[in-house]
């Protein structure tokens, strides 16, 4: 029986993109099911009743949700091109920083992007503090995974994708080469890697999407 691997995703979800990268790096054949974030299919809701979100990986009929959990599943199921290191302490560090990326870095950069004035200043300052910690983690390494792209590069890959978009729209300076030379170099190395480069969502479409999201957020906060 042929193995059935399906990935439910949207065209732009950075979380779903993590799974795309993992599957591509491991050379796994899979089928994409494109979802519309405004009108999610009943099938998706059935596979992820708790969060009703992408990504969902369906492997031989069994669904797995939450992108970082899916990454671990993919790494444990298909052993080629390991994403997580072998050493338990190194694995713990990769997981720690991935969580930090989602909880702290993403939060602060997003807040800086959608807010104004003092709130924006504070968020930017916070984001810079967090980025500095990631900068230190890259010391002596080409990728967070060492010589090759690994779990943490994939988990933080949204930085390479979205920070440019946010900076272009807002005029903010979030991740520049002066303050964060290693991260800046990593953005380019990561984006230029063949597997990563082939899966990039359209820059122009992303600009349009996030201009709209930013306006929506601004409109929501000013109507109180």
């Amino acid at each position: 029986m042929a193995e059935e691997v399906k990935l439910f995703r949207t065209w732009s979800s950075p979380f779903a993109l993590r799974v795309v990268w993992a599957l591509q790096l491991k050379g796994i054949q899979y089928e994409t099911v494109l979802e519309d974030v405004a009108k999610k299919s009943d099938v998706l809701r059935g596979y992820n009743p708790v969060y009703k979100k992408v990504p969902v990986l369906l492997h031989n009929g069994r669904p797995i949700s939450e992108s970082l959990i899916i990454l671990e599943y993919v790494d444990e199921t298909w052993k080629q091109h390991s994403l997580l290191p072998q050493d338990p302490h190194a694995r713990a560090m990769a997981r720690f920083w991935a969580k930090f990326g989602d909880d702290k870095v993403m939060q602060s950069i997003w807040t800086a992007f959608v807010s104004e004035g003092k709130e924006q200043e504070a968020a930017l300052a916070e984001a810079s503090e967090h980025l500095q910690k990631l900068e230190e983690e890259l010391r002596g390494k080409k990728f967070f995974g060492g010589d090759n792209i690994g779990y943490l590069d994939i988990a933080l890959g949204w930085l390479a994708n979205l920070v440019r978009v946010f900076e272009e729209i807002s005029g903010l300076r979030v991740l520049d080469g002066e303050r964060f030379p290693l991260l800046f170099a990593w953005l380019k190395e990561f984006s230029d890697a063949p597997v990563i480069r082939d899966c990039w969502p359209s820059h122009d479409k992303l600009i349009t999407k996030f201009i709209a999201l930013r306006q929506l957020h601004g409109a929501q906060s000013s109507s109180t």
Partner: protein, 232 residues
């Protein structure tokens, strides 16, 4: 002299549910460790050095190397000490299920219960409603994922998911006393309620649980501080 080799030190405190999780994991595995009791209002220099990013408990220091974040620590414990009981199942799909529900408890249910603790009046009523809704999701999820009852079936050793649910709802009597609200309802959440009850009976759990009055005091203190700063 042994020095740092194989030395396991946990910076934590038993009134912290996160710290309690790590102690449970160490005990399930039968790992000898030293508990450095931290005062959360006056954190040690060592703790701040070992966890400069979050400055929180728990931090596990093994062979001189620190690891923070309770769920990350528990997976480390499972992967580093391969002999003895497993904290996560072997099969990748079963592991994903455990991680999913542990994450749901850790993020969704924890946040919702924290809201109940930190609010009163109408806000609290809304927060309680949210906890009940999420407990219902957990109940449904456990029913679907573990048709036999719960992950902790047949009295096998506690695993990651048991540890997380126990840390959050094990002290439900303390929560009821301080907050005047009931989280676990045996009629609405029969599986989760009986699961927590079974876990609370375990000697290992009793070992790391402080006396009822101490937990009541700690929770009351936490709630008072939160209500004060909200009113300020």
């Amino acid at each position: 002299m042994a020095g740092e080799e194989n030395r396991v030190v946990l910076h934590g405190t038993r009134v912290s549910l996160y710290s309690a999780r790590v102690e449970l994991a160490l005990k399930v595995k039968g790992i000898e460790y030293e508990l450095v009791e931290e005062d959360l209002m006056n954190k040690s220099e060592a703790l701040l050095r070992f966890n400069p990013v979050h400055k929180k408990v728990p931090v596990l220091v093994h062979n001189g190397k620190p690891i923070a974040e309770s769920l990350v620590i528990i997976e480390y414990i499972d992967e580093n000490w391969k002999e003895g009981p497993r904290l996560l199942p072997q099969d990748p799909y079963e592991r994903a299920k455990v991680r999913f529900w542990a994450g749901f408890l850790h993020q969704q249910l924890f946040e919702a219960t924290a809201s109940v603790i930190k609010t009163d009046g109408e806000s609290q009523e809304r927060a309680v409603k949210e906890v009940h809704e999420k407990l219902k999701m957990l109940e449904e999820g456990i029913k679907g994922s573990y048709p036999g009852g719960s992950p902790f079936v047949n009295g096998d050793n506690m695993g990651l998911l048991d540890i997380v649910v126990c840390s959050l709802f094990g002290p439900h009597k303390v929560q009821e006393e301080v907050l005047g609200v009931k989280f676990l309802d045996p009629e609405k959440h029969p599986r989760v309620t009986s699961w927590v009850k079974a876990l609370n009976e375990l000697p290992l759990v009793k070992e790391v649980t402080p006396p009822h009055e101490k937990l009541v005091g700690a929770l009351q203190c936490f709630r008072n501080r939160a209500l004060e700063s909200a009113a300020a």
